[in-house]
Subunit: 330 residues, 2 copies
Amino acid sequence: MKQLINVPESVVADALRGMAAAHPELTVDVENRVIVRRDAPVLDKVGLISGGGSGHEPLHGGFVGPGMLDAACPGEVFTSPVPDQMARAAAAVDSGRGVLFIVKNYTGDALNFEMAAELAEDEGVQVGKVLVQDDVAVTDSLYTAGRRGTGGTLFVEKLAGAAAEEGAPLERVEAIARRVSESCRSFGVALSACTTPAKGGPTFDLPPGELELGIGIHGEPGRERRAMMTSGEIADFTVDALLADLHPDGPVLALVNGMGGTPLLELYGFNAEVHRVLSERGVPVARTLVGNYVTSLDMAGCSVTLCQVDEELLRLWDAPVRTAALRWGS
Amino acid sequence: MKQLINVPESVVADALRGMAAAHPELTVDVENRVIVRRDAPVLDKVGLISGGGSGHEPLHGGFVGPGMLDAACPGEVFTSPVPDQMARAAAAVDSGRGVLFIVKNYTGDALNFEMAAELAEDEGVQVGKVLVQDDVAVTDSLYTAGRRGTGGTLFVEKLAGAAAEEGAPLERVEAIARRVSESCRSFGVALSACTTPAKGGPTFDLPPGELELGIGIHGEPGRERRAMMTSGEIADFTVDALLADLHPDGPVLALVNGMGGTPLLELYGFNAEVHRVLSERGVPVARTLVGNYVTSLDMAGCSVTLCQVDEELLRLWDAPVRTAALRWGS
């Protein structure tokens, strides 16, 4: 796949310049790679900070704004950001009420956010931390011990972000983030490999006529490869993999997510199948989000995330949000 | 490219079922292929109706809602909807103030919307019509006489939609739509061909190492093929092609649009280059939208649309909109 880039080395900096040009409501520090909502620090508000390797856009930079993140720290493509980025972000967004780090469970991210927390605490910033490890496909993987963090991150950022926007203290925002993290499960499917700028070609080999069930968002191996399946068969497999692990006794939020290269027309068709399976399994869906939110560059494929919610979490989901990629309410 | 579908024949119906499941704020008539905002007809409001072949999502169904379209009529992939769809939509959204048809300039669409207008007028509905023909790449093409309608459609739908939402009469909404249509220019670039469900493979042949400048949103031939260019070179060529035709004496709205298969990371980087060129040419950019809005299935590539605006049009752009794919304001 050909790429719309200048040189591989400048891809992240170029994208940050482009974000700055498109979004005057954000402060984008291109050199230090920190994206901050322009009105930060917000008086008396807990600051939410996330970050991770680039290549998953709009995650996380597209989720910075009122009702969601205060700052995002993008690393190189598929590479953890460095501790200095998160420490800078903490200094930029802390209003004195502390900050919450939202960390996808990859070894590099976990380590670098841990070091950043120490740096920030040395500067007198109170730091909470939540690890997102929602991907049920495999335990332990190329880049992590335990489960990988994927689509559930969107729910943690949105729901904890809404709580922070309402003025909840750090302890409470962190508790909500943890509860959401524990209530999310994700499963991804690749129809094609993705193309990193550095490599300029497919990062792994997925033969014509095969798909990979349980793929990671960096193309890490999943559970198994099979002959190409229909949208309905993929929905059956995916939802059953989720429900084998999450046993919701109430409504769920559903994220029917594209990996980047699959057309929205196909994603909506897949959403119909996901809803069919959930209905057959007796799981009520309170809200559905369909689109490319937690991507893997140009990978064709999809993932489904389910997040069990109670009334409070549903109210936080419906609360206003104003970011580049998610916005609703007043 | 592998596809996330059941069978090619059901792709559009499946997607409509998926839209219905995700968007309770829409009424989706899957059988007759009409997507309508749930509160239609809106009292004393002119109804805006668009439509066209599927495969360009979120256009048009993703633009149905308060502040934009009242209804959208999706045809088969890359195939015009039939007159009966638009006539049904007109009946569903007309409040007695009339409806406006927004038509991309392709022979089939122009003909079918014309027939639909006759059907609707026979039922006593007053019908206005505006043709969008913003693509400066070529005159006459595979599917049309004159210029093709592409990204400018988003601006026509948003700005005329805002005017209609404010209660403007049909004559005025149509005049604004026409003025916007005349103020828009687009130019697209393909890095890869797209994959239609029916064909299941690339719809045209674009060799490795080459791109096509001036591509149409159905893969229609553009101006020329060249050896692969950098993001900056593509921005130079694209913006200059636009400015050779549009000579703005004031600010523009910029749509930096993905064709579907190009990652958002790359699109933002491209946006930085588009802004660089516009700045070098002395064109101020009032607002910028970056993302996949007028797509060509899984085609990799991009397009740029510029829309010259005065104070009134800028105010209409900033007015609230609440659709699946575009939303802001209260």
